[in-house]
Each structure stands twice: as C-alpha cells, then as structure tokens.
C-alpha cells in the first residue's frame, strides 16, 4: 500500500475529496426496493437477514423472494439505518441482484463490494465500509434461505480466526479496523482500544492481516 496516500477521504475512482457521485445521490434521495411495510406474515418472503448494529452507526435488514426452480432472486427488499452511502449502497445492491430477471443465488453471492462501488461511481475510502455491509447482509439472507430449504451444506458462515489469544482478537476485528481507516498496527490498536500484539509473532501476524485487508479494500 502506498505510504504517501492521503487520508481516507479521497475517492479512489474519481480522485475527488469527500464527495458523493450523482448515482449515490440519486439512490440516496430515491432509494429502490425499499421495504415500506414490515411483512405481516412469515411466509411473505422466503428469507431475511440482518447485519450491523445501531451502535456502529450502520444496520441493514434484507428480505428476499427466490424462484425455487431457477433459484433466481425475484425480489430483494431492505431497510437501512446509516449514512447516505449505506442507503445508496443497499439500494444499488438490490438493483444489481434483481435487474434483468434476477441473478441466481450463486451469481448473487459472487457480487463483491467493489462491484457495488463501481456501479455507485465510487465512494470515498472511509465509506467503503458501507458497501461491504450490503454484501454481508445478503450472505446472511442467503444463509437463511439455505437453512429454510434444507440446504445446510450451502451455508457460508464467515469463520473468524483468533490472532491474539490473550485478548481474543480475531481477523474479523482487524478487518473492521482497516475498514474504519486504520492503516498501521498502531492505528488498529487505537480502533480496538486495546494494546494488541503481546509477542513478536502475534505482531507480525496482525501486520500481515492489516496489509491483506488494506489491499483487499483499498489496493
């Protein structure tokens, strides 16, 4: 990762600082596939999923209808608590999955945060967090569908690996910290509010994870 990169506010696609694209604005002011009324009965949708928390400032809930024969996503409704980019990212994500007759579940699960960002015309770096949430919400929704249709072998749970056993810090914690803008071991420590990396071995492991996630989301 480039050491001289300016703080998180640069939009990696347009180079603009702290600015939303017209697509983001359009989907923020006029979100598509928003769920207006909560489902009255459990069978109205085939599956649902929720991620995030209001304490984090982002929370997303999704409801899905699936064509059981073709496994295409017929309908994907959502509600989001969060900033403009979180709302816009969920909106465009729901469009990507349902347009042109709908994606199959397998294809839908391959949609990456980067695809969402491209369709949005880019997001400022520190807002990439928001587009990651949409795909996590969908993974949970898909898992719910697999569970309900007895396809437990298709469920994907994001496994977490403990990297610092004394403090029980996992690779997911490091991922979160990087998504929130941490770029060094020191900054990760600040985000997690603990002094991680008791031994050199743990430190090296954490540093390589920081590099890995930085490349994944910002590289």
């Amino acid at each position: 990762m480039n050491e001289n990169k300016a703080p998180e506010v640069i939009n990696q696609f347009t180079g603009e600082k702290w600015y939303y694209s017209d697509t983001v604005k359009e989907h923020f002011f006029h979100p598509r596939n928003l769920l207006w009324e909560r489902p009255k009965n459990q069978n109205e949708f085939d599956a649902e999923g929720m991620v995030g928390s209001p304490a984090c400032g982002d929370m997303m809930q999704m409801w899905m209808k699936v064509d059981r024969n073709t496994e295409r996503v017929i309908d994907l409704k959502w509600k989001t608590f969060g900033c403009a980019s979180a709302i816009a990212a969920t909106s465009i994500y729901s469009v990507i999955l349902t347009e042109n007759g709908g994606m199959t579940l397998d294809d839908a699960l391959k949609v990456k945060p980067q695809d969402v960002m491209k369709r949005l015309g880019g997001l400022p770096n520190r807002k990439i967090h928001c587009s990651v949430l949409a795909d996590k919400a969908f993974q949970k929704t898909a898992n719910d569908y697999f569970r309900k249709t007895g396809q437990n072998h298709r469920i994907v749970v994001e496994g977490a690996r403990v990297v610092d056993p004394t403090l029980n810090i996992t690779d997911k914690d490091i991922e979160e910290a990087v998504l929130e803008g941490a770029q060094t071991l020191d900054e990760v420590q600040k985000k997690l509010k603990v002094g991680i990396g008791a031994s050199e071995e743990v430190k090296t492991d954490i540093e390589s994870l920081v590099r890995f996630y930085s490349d994944k989301y910002y590289g």
């Binding site: 928390s53 969060g82 803008g181």
Partner: protein
C-alpha cells in the same frame, strides 16, 4: 415505489454558528486597510511599521479592557487550536512533569494534547460530566493533587453548549493555592464558544489562561488569542523573532488582529441583548421540536447552556443522512455521528453524557446566530419532521428513548466483536 422527496431550492437557513460565523461587515471594513494600503511589518521603525504596530497595540488594548486584563496579557495566535496548544504544552513544557485535570468532553484541541502528554509521562484525570453535561465542582475538588500543574476546563461545550462552573472552579483553585503547598498550578479555560455570550471578566472567572477564537464570533478565521495572566510562566511553542512578548514569534498579522479585536468589541457590546433574543428563540425551537417529532432527546442541561445551542438526538436515524437531506432543503446544521468524522468515531461528548453509541449517531446540533429569526426556525420546523419521518421509514430501527445501554447487542453476535450490554456479554 417512488417517494415524494421534492427538493426545494432557494433561501438557505444556516444553523451551524458553533462551527463558523459569517464575518460582520464592520469587522471586514476595519480589516480592509491593512491588507494592501497599510501592509507594514509592525517591527519596522518607519511609518509603515508604526501604522501596523499602532493598530496591533490598539487591538490588544481594546481586548484587554473588555476582559479586565492588561494589554501585555493578550497573546495573539492563529486561532483557538493554537491558543489551546500553547496553554497546555506551554504549561507542560515549563513544569516537565506532573498531574493534569481536564474533562471528558473537552474540544479535541485540548483532549488530544492531553492524550499526547499522557504518552510523555504526565498523569491526566478526565473528569466526568454527568448526564446533564456539567462538571461537578465537588468532583473537581477531589481530583486536585499536590502535583497538579494544570487544570483545563472549557467555559462552554462546543457540541451541547452546556456552561461549566468556571468561576466556582476558579475559587476552589484560589483556596487550594492558599491552603496547600501547591501554589503554582495553572488554570486554563477554552472560551471559544462562550466568548459571544458569557461574562468574559478574567478576574471574576479566576483563570490564568483563556482561549478565544475570532472565527466563532463573526471575526476572521485564523485569528485568536490566549489571555495569559502576568506572572504565569509557560514555555513558548513557536520560537523566532520574539513577537507577542516572546510567547508567539512570527510577524503580527495586523489585518487579522484588527479584525479579531473589532469582532470581540462588537460581541461584548451586543452580548446581553443578543443572548436574551437567542435564548427565547432557542427555547421556542426546542419546545416545537419536541411537539413535532417523536422519540427525540435533548442533550445537555436545558437552561445552563449557550443561548444559541440546541442539541438533540433524533432516534432511529443517522445524522449524516438527515444532514444531506436537509441540506437539499436549504438547511445547514451538524451531527455527532461517526459517519461525518474523520476518525469514524461518534461524538465523544454525547458518549460522555452516558448515552449509548446510537444516541451519538443520531445527535444533531443546531446553533443559531445573529441572522437567525423565527421565520428561519419555522421553516426548519416545517421541513425537518417530514424528512425525519421519511428516514424513519428507511430505517429498520425501533430504539428506546430512555435507553442507557446499547440496543440490538445480538446484532454483534457472530461478528466477533465483544459487546457488553445489560450486564450480559455477547459474542
């Protein structure tokens, strides 16, 4: 389904005066001759220099008079942050070690220097501010120690506007100095937000150092000053030609200093009348907000707050989204939501009140100013409830307005974040 968010364009209602104020035309006029015509260096012995020097000196005298200080006690700086840094690092560098007392919800220009000093070996006490956002003088008294070298408590909080008992703390310090062996401790207050509305008599307040910022009182940005009582010893931060009584080197910016003084004079002159006018508008705005919007919580004491400050948490929605929507409707204000901060951390001020994170994400600050009138507020009151209602339809949340701990801790489960809520630990 299409929503009906018609975007109006036209008049703007600016309600972020705690962030920046428009420059008063009288200030602009006073500064004008010092850019092109009277450009001299105040250090010069010739006429151009004398003109600049006289302007700077007159400005220093004007400010000193208004805060009941001596002219040589006014150190002009580049603004509030520099004055705060000078106060804190200046004191710390003079004493080299010791104990510092501050509050949990200071401005970052005070908090971050304190955090840095902790790294350098200083011991720092961060006082609690209670659910109303006011430091308890009794807590303060208990925190005082024989090795306390610096006390830094803000006059009024920048986010929630709560007014701190500075004069009372000043008296406690005065007594402490007489009764203990520690007579050297220094009392600093950041008065950036208070300067336009509260009593600025440094003798009444009992402070040794006081920060004021021009950009918050209808003066120029990039101008401020630190009041430093005679005899109080601190180490300078900026070394050079020895300007500002050797406390802040660098050629004096005559236009900024003249503007700073003019703005301060106008503020002092209009303080009483403007405060009374804004208090009435503030209370009207708060009571109407509570009538028109459900699930809304006032942050900070309802009366012991600046006349221009309204800070509320509007639950179930997130600050940035509301701000962008209202911006499109011509209304400007700010939020304590993490989404708008560089660090992605939610407001430390709202958290210091003991409120859960989600209250910080949904906190909105409206700060009124000289141009604000009832029509402006009525316009906001007509647009805001509609926008809040819309964003609540978008949001999946249903928060409890009386919550003291985090909602939906279960949402964290499986995300591998350690969450403690309601005495349970979720994983």
């Amino acid at each position: 389904m299409k929503n009906k968010n018609k975007i109006k364009v036209g008049k703007r209602v600016y309600l972020d005066h705690a962030a920046a104020t428009p420059m008063d035309p009288r200030v602009f006029e006073a500064m004008e001759p010092f850019w092109v015509k009277n450009f001299g260096n105040a250090g010069g012995l010739y006429e151009e220099g004398r003109i600049a020097k006289e302007a700077v000196q007159k400005s220093r005298e004007a400010i000193a008079r208004l805060i009941f200080a001596k002219p040589e006690e006014i150190i002009f700086t580049s603004g509030g942050t520099e004055a705060d840094n000078l106060a804190i690092f200046g004191t710390a560098n003079f004493f080299k070690k010791g104990h510092i007392i501050t509050s949990k919800f200071e401005h970052h220009a005070v908090l971050n220097p304190c955090l840095e000093l902790e790294k350098r070996g200083f011991d720092v006490t961060y006082l609690e501010v209670g659910s109303e956002g006011i430091v308890n003088p009794e807590d303060f008294k208990k925190a005082l120690r024989a090795d306390t070298v610096l006390v830094s408590i803000m006059y009024a909080n920048n986010e929630i506007g709560t007014i701190q008992p500075i004069a009372e703390i000043g008296k406690i310090i005065q007594n402490y100095r007489l009764q203990s062996a520690n007579s050297r401790l220094i009392f600093h207050t950041d008065a950036c937000q208070a300067a336009a509305y509260l009593d600025m008599n440094v003798n009444e307040l009992g402070v040794d150092l006081m920060t004021v910022n021009g950009g918050k009182i209808y003066g120029p940005k990039g101008a401020g000053f630190l009041y430093k009582k005679s005899g109080v010893k601190i180490t300078p931060m900026i070394f050079g030609g020895g300007q500002e009584m050797r406390m802040r080197s660098g050629t004096e910016s005559a236009p900024l200093i003249v503007g700073m003084a003019k703005a301060f004079e106008i503020a002092a002159l209009e303080r009483e009348k403007e405060s009374a006018r804004l208090c009435e508008l503030r209370d009207y705005f708060i009571s109407e907000l509570f009538q028109k919007i459900t699930k809304i919580v006032l942050n900070g004491h309802d009366k012991k707050r600046l006349p221009n400050n309204v800070n509320v948490s509007i639950l179930d929605i997130e600050g940035e989204a509301l701000i962008l929507f209202m911006d499109a409707h011509g209304v400007s204000f700010s939020t304590g939501s993490a989404c708008t901060s560089e660090s992605l951390d939610p407001s430390h001020v709202i958290l210091a009140l003991g409120k859960p994170y989600e209250f910080a994400h949904s906190s909105m600050r409206f700060t009124l100013g000289r141009s604000t009138n009832k029509e402006d507020l009525d316009y906001v009151l007509s647009e805001l409830p509609k926008t809040v209602a819309w964003l609540r339809r978008v949001s999946p949340l249903e928060l409890d307005p009386n919550a003291a701990s985090m909602s939906h801790p279960e949402a964290f489960a499986g995300e591998n974040l350690r969450v403690k809520a309601k005495s349970k630990s979720y994983k």
